[in-house]
Amino acid sequence: MTTSIVVDGVAKKFTLRYHRTLKQVTVAAVRRQELSNSFWALQDVSFEVQQGESIGLMGLNGSGKSTLLKLVNGVMRPDKGSVLTRGRIAGLIAARAGFHPQLSGRENIYLNAAVQGMSEAETKRKFDDIVDFADIGKFLDSQVGHYSSGMTARLGFSVAVHVDSDIFLADEVLAVGDRPFKKKCMERMQEIRDSGRTIFYVSHAPGSVRKMCDRVIVLEEGRVGFDGPTNAGIKYLKYDSKPDEDDTDDDLGADI
């Protein structure tokens, strides 16, 4: 077994409001109020992931899931501790991942693929597959700003799954897609998992987490509240108790 991700004692601090006007600063200074109030979005987060594991990252809104993913994919750096990863990382952090609204779908595919480290030849080779998977049809050459959020998400997801990555991150990606697309995505992610790549999957839908993941990490106000087997994790969150959720075919539906 090879370690894929090592998160060691990580903390991340944010400031609540960054941009203040001169007026606000002066008034605050005169009244001797505190100017910046910062808080820890993540604290003491430590865990290791082996290559090939697929982790469900769960927790309430604002518990730090997206922040953790941004530390793992290298967009942000931790204020304390360290994050180490092995291999290439791809994935989708929020549905509108880095698209330029004024460019066409086609141009955005090239740009997005390049940002995730694909070469021109590789993108050309996979271009038709990417378009097929996204299934945006005749809108390929119209500008992404006019896409619906579901279409944007499809395009983003499609590029991300076609990157030859060792670690795949998915942050609430299925929230906006329609049902056939969600199903297709789940299948593709299962393929990714079965090919031995590491997956980090953020979702609020216990059904899909159960299908995808063999381990769950629950964040609670920036700390690891639970780290263990999937079922125990879902139980820990008490997401199970809702009666209408589980037995229906709506494994993916609750992916808010």
């Binding site: 090879t2 530390l71 290439r88």
Partner: protein, 304 residues
């Protein structure tokens, strides 16, 4: 053909094994060198800017010729005929246009570069790219727009009977290098600063006004040297002024009846040496810009 390290193991076929890859911090390696290592991405960003600019316009790229050419005509009529500078300084419109090429390259790099990181929020917040990419792309886009201006300058100069000379062409190259380097340096500094306080893009607007009048564009260098005598050499500490003089040396003096006399009168001695000095100075500023940028960069994604 790969553009980026680390390579993924999955590209190498079965069995799936990443143990040969190093365990490293995932943050994108940064710095200007990394930008040029990922030149495919850089090319896409530049192309995107250029196509976005002429998007939905019928004439498209033709506008980048129309705009400078009408500017030239304006200067020709206003300065040459209405104000009457044309009698003292032959082809004064060419003199102005030489300055305009440099000044617009510089101010566009500076302005667009300063806004580049905030403007590319979407990318910066979600994907690990070297953030220097964006100011550099702005510089290249502005550089791309110099081409039509140079074409017009050459056509006009040829019309006035100009012939290219090696020293002049070398001077032009040095001038463009000065502006590209200094523009990138300032774009780096201000693009990072602009993330923290959006006021910086306003500051840049104000600064570029000074640039327009701080170079011998709408007035000849002779006026400065006549008025200030030996103090005029401080004027030459401004690299953009040197670049403008280099371009005037390359084109304007060659369009007059007596290039040697015009060079002696209106271009400082040893302008090429001064220009090379300005280029070295700009390179130093670029190094400083990179150092400052690297220090600020950490906090950029969360502050956007």
């Amino acid at each position: 053909m790969t553009d980026v390290a680390p390579r993924s193991a999955s590209a190498e076929g079965e069995p799936y094994d990443v143990s040969h890859l190093p365990l490293v911090a995932p943050a994108a390696t940064t710095g200007l060198l990394e930008v040029f290592r990922r030149r495919y991405l850089l090319r896409l960003l530049v192309r995107r800017e250029i196509s976005a600019r002429y998007q939905a316009s019928f004439l498209g790229i033709i506008w980048s010729y129309v705009n400078p050419f009408t500017q030239f005509l304006l200067y020709y009529f206003i300065l040459g005929i209405v104000v009457g500078l044309g009698s003292r300084f032959q082809n004064f419109a060419v003199h102005v246009f030489c300055g305009l090429v440099i000044v617009s390259f510089f101010t566009e790099t500076f302005n667009a570069g300063t806004r580049s990181i905030v403007g590319n929020k979407q990318l910066v917040q979600k994907l690990a790219v070297p953030r220097e990419m964006f100011p550099v792309a702005s510089m290249l886009v502005s550089g791309y727009h110099v081409i039509p201006q140079l074409v017009i300058l050459v056509v006009v100069a040829l019309f006035y009977g100009w012939t290219p000379d090696p020293v002049g062409m070398l001077g032009l190259l040095v001038a463009l290098l000065i502006v590209g380097t200094l523009g990138t340096a300032l774009a780096l500094l201000f693009s990072a600063a602009n993330v923290f306080f959006r006021d910086f893009s306003q500051v840049v607007n104000v600064l570029t006004n000074f640039v327009r009048f701080g170079v011998p564009m709408i007035y000849p260098y002779t006026l400065v040297s006549e008025r200030f005598g030996p103090v005029a050499q401080f004027y030459l500490l401004n690299p953009i002024a040197d670049a403008v003089l280099l371009v005037q040396r390359a084109f304007w003096v060659g369009t007059t009846d007596d290039p040697a006399e015009y060079t002696r009168l209106h271009i400082p001695d040893h302008i090429l040496t001064i220009g090379l000095g300005a280029f070295v100075g700009s390179a130093v500023v670029l190094v400083i810009g990179q150092l400052v940028f690297s220090r600020l960069e950490n906090k950029i994604p969360e502050r956007l």
